[in-house]
């Protein structure tokens, strides 16, 4: 075991730094934890998340992988079966589509197929989302593709505090966990207090109380939803904002509780509308909360188009603060 330095509170910490701290801490505490991914070592990670770890832990534990996503993820699955605790970095979610065999056919199934004989303690980190003009093959969101795979757990932190704790918690779990990060959040800062007791890994969080409508969002969209809610507050509309933090399992009790207070729900989703997580959330709230709802659960989501390169079209293809506000006003009229 390496020397474990105390992690101290900071008034401001960037998202990538929080993830970096979490990895450092997990590696110092447990020799079984290792990192594998493209350019994670010498180069320090495309978004700096693994910066400094190669120098500290050496190439055996921070391994630069060839461009072979399916096989290095599969290799992680294999190592997890015999006691390793791999943290795989897939450079962006777009490349995770190449690793779906390892993730879906292997990692997600082995515990069940073996009648519980094996566990797969694997974390697969993947940044995604619409960033800045990266075009159709580099702007994808993968929630829809992984959401209905039994055997996977999916978390999606949106703040440095959550990123730190959720990553540490995920590495401790004995299941394959998809750890979704957002490319536009890495350089956002937030307060960081490692001493504050973390909520359970899969719980949601109320970011803002409100009585008129509940906004449900995750990852970057929870930030936009919060901004929209704050701006609407000045117009006298009180929107409650929930950051889901986890997509599977979903924190349904929290959602239902909020719905009972506000009677109106809008899901704000960056992924495309058709067949997305918003559809699952809306359907479930419709089933379980029908008699509490004043109006059908609304969904504001990405347009059903491959993401365009042109910046104006790109902005048009996903929810913005202005479109969130407009949808809330509509929902309150209904």
């Amino acid at each position: 075991m390496g020397h474990i330095e105390p992690v101290t509170p900071r008034p401001e910490l960037k998202m990538w730094e929080a993830l970096n701290l979490a990895l450092d801490r997990a590696m110092a505490e447990d020799d079984a934890v290792f990192i594998l991914g493209e350019d994670v070592g010498l180069y320090g990670g495309s978004y700096r998340v693994t910066q400094g770890l190669y120098a500290k832990y050496g190439e055996w534990r921070v391994r630069d992988a060839p461009i072979s996503e399916n096989s290095f993820t599969g290799l992680g699955v294999g190592a997890a079966l015999v006691g390793g605790r791999p943290v795989i970095e897939i450079m962006t979610v777009n490349f995770a589509y190449l690793a779906l065999d390892a993730i879906i056919n292997m990692a997600a199934k082995i515990r069940y197929m073996s009648g519980g004989q094996f566990r797969v303690p694997l974390v697969v980190r993947m940044p995604g989302g619409v960033a800045r003009q990266l075009a159709a093959q580099h702007s994808q969101r993968i929630e829809h593709a992984l959401l209905n795979v039994p055997g996977l757990r999916i978390v999606c932190p949106a703040t440095p505090q959550d990123a730190y704790w959720q990553l540490r918690q995920a590495i401790h779990e004995d299941d394959p966990i998809i750890f979704m990060e957002h490319e536009l959040l890495y350089f956002d800062s937030g307060p960081f207090d490692p001493g504050a007791a973390p909520p359970p890994l899969h719980s949601g969080r109320i970011l803002r109380d409100g009585k008129d409508v509940t906004l449900v969002a995750w990852s970057r969209m929870s930030r936009l939803a919060l901004t929209a809610a704050e701006e609407l507050g000045e117009e006298g509309i009180e929107a409650e904002v929930i950051d889901l933090r986890s997509l599977r399992p979903l924190d349904l009790p929290l959602l239902l509780e909020s719905l009972r207070r506000t009677h109106r729900v809008l899901v704000v989703e960056e992924d495309c509308l058709f067949g997305g997580a918003g559809a699952e959330i809306a359907a479930t709230l419709g089933e379980r909360g029908f008699y509490e709802l004043e109006t059908p659960v609304g969904r504001l989501a990405g347009a059903d188009v491959p993401t365009p390169y042109n910046d104006r079209l790109e902005a048009e293809s996903i929810p913005q603060v202005s479109t969130i506000k407009a949808r809330i006003r509509d929902l309150l009229k209904a």
Partner: protein, 350 residues
Amino acid sequence: MNVMPGYVREEGMSEQSTSLLSVTDKKRLLREMLYARRFEERCYEAYVERKIGGFLHLYSGQEACAHGVLEAARPGFDYVITGYRDHIHAIKCGADPREVMAELYGKETGSSRGRGGSMHIFDVKHRFMGGYALVGGPFPLAAGIAKGIKMKGGEEISICFLGDAANNQGTFHESLNMAKIWNLPVLYVCENNLYGIGTRIDRSTAVLEQYKRAAAYDIPAGQADGQDVEAVYAAAVQAVEHVRSGNGPYFLELKTYRYRGHSMSDSNAYRSKDEEREWLKRDPIQILRNRLIDANALTLDEFKAMDREILDQIENDVVKFAEESPEPAVEDLEKYVLAENDPYVHGGRQ
């Protein structure tokens, strides 16, 4: 303008000419490669000015690869496919540089109507089958294009340009295998610039000489100096001849170097300055220019005049066109998702 130093040096090496090209062809190739360099360096500037967004991967240093190979093929007739470092391949296939630049500017007049950007130049007219962002993605498409050619019967061949690190993707092995068993007319060109982003080839790849990997599929292969356009041309003539005459796939490795970072966000911190200097001495444009000067086929003044004329054309024709073109209309967001007006697959608008 931030230009790679080197190729306007007055003194310089002269390497032996090996080629079958006429002086006129060589001068044209010199011009094309210089144009390519100036085009890419102008993109660099436009990116810094935030006229170009997203990911931008420049081709500076590798010019002899696309130019030497395609000079030996029939650009515009043969089908060409590549990765994200694609501007110059498209232009050599016949794409209008103004449309390529307009694409980088995200304009409606761009080759992909502003929808694709730098990594996704497409030009159906010139059979440029696209630039793709996922490493290794084009390998099977190139084999498929070759299969399509064979089914309809024709002289065309399929040419796939990719990097060294792409060969570690499963698609490389699966595609080469299929190309061989079905005897497909496809030429795989590996532009081995020694790096995949920040990872040097010996840290990611078991076999350093990429051409040797084709032997695993019993595919004939060659290797050439990717900084010397005449050497590339000579090797490509054989490769193209092999594929076009129905002998099945061929694999050609070109040893080269990219002078810029992997993309605009990369500072090359993982490479030594010595290594960079060594490769700058082997600038493909400089090598050809010096050879022509030594053979008394060109003067330095003529070269400089050519350079000025290129810079002028890029500025006053290409960039101007991109700057002045309109952006796509926001109402057209959903255009091109599917063949138009198909309510069943489309699902209708909300």
